[in-house]
Amino acid sequence: MVFRYELEGGNFSKAGHASSEIKKTLKQLSVDPRIIKRIVVALYEAEVNVVAHAWKGEVLAEVEANQITLTLRDEGPGIPDIPLAMQEGYSTASPAVRQMGFGAGMGLPNMKKNVDELEIESRVGVGTNVRMVTRFSGE
């Protein structure tokens, strides 16, 4: 099964929609609730990243019998230094985004902690692709 959701830069009212839908789907498939929680944390953070930084993007969720692959592609400013962005506490979020309680530099680290595989590819001025894989059987 493949699901697709659109994301719009700056539109925080849509952030979390994909996470909420995926949560419902995985529940129906009787995936371990602890694993669902981890997937949802990672996907929500990834959604917020697109909304907070990019112009637009999409979430592709590929659900297989034993794993889920989440791909987020955005058109946006890109990430010039990925290892720096991965550091806890590092953030380039705007003051408005910080005021909402985001932008603490925890998004990417939270994603990494909660998935089995995380790959990030980015081109400055073009956009970022994030791919996250989680297996349902646990580690």
Binding site: F12, S13, A15, G16, S19, S20, K23, K37, V40, V41, Y44, E45, V48, M100, G101, F102, A104, M106, G107, N110, K113
Partner: protein, 112 residues
Amino acid sequence: MKVNELIEELNLTLFCGEAGVDNEIKGGYTCDLLSDVMGNIEEGMVWITMQTHQNVLAVASLKDAAAVLIVNGYEPDGEMREKTMEGAIPILGTKLSAFEASGIIYRLLHGK
């Protein structure tokens, strides 16, 4: 302790999410950083915060929080109220500060 018992004990305002007043409260988490809450709050906790926008609800619902308690007399914004209608997470309010509310709830839950 159930959410409606907490409402009575602390004389809280119930802004919306009436469907969830029977949710069992297993603990609490006090923080205004959404990513920290996303990473650390556990299912069944009451989330104590002064954030009032709709993303609070998204986080609370994704993590299955028992309720959200907005402190310092703040109120949920319009979009947050609208969205809560769809879910079952009570959004509560108090004039107490986060420190006071957390202290009182901690004592209620842990009996110390």
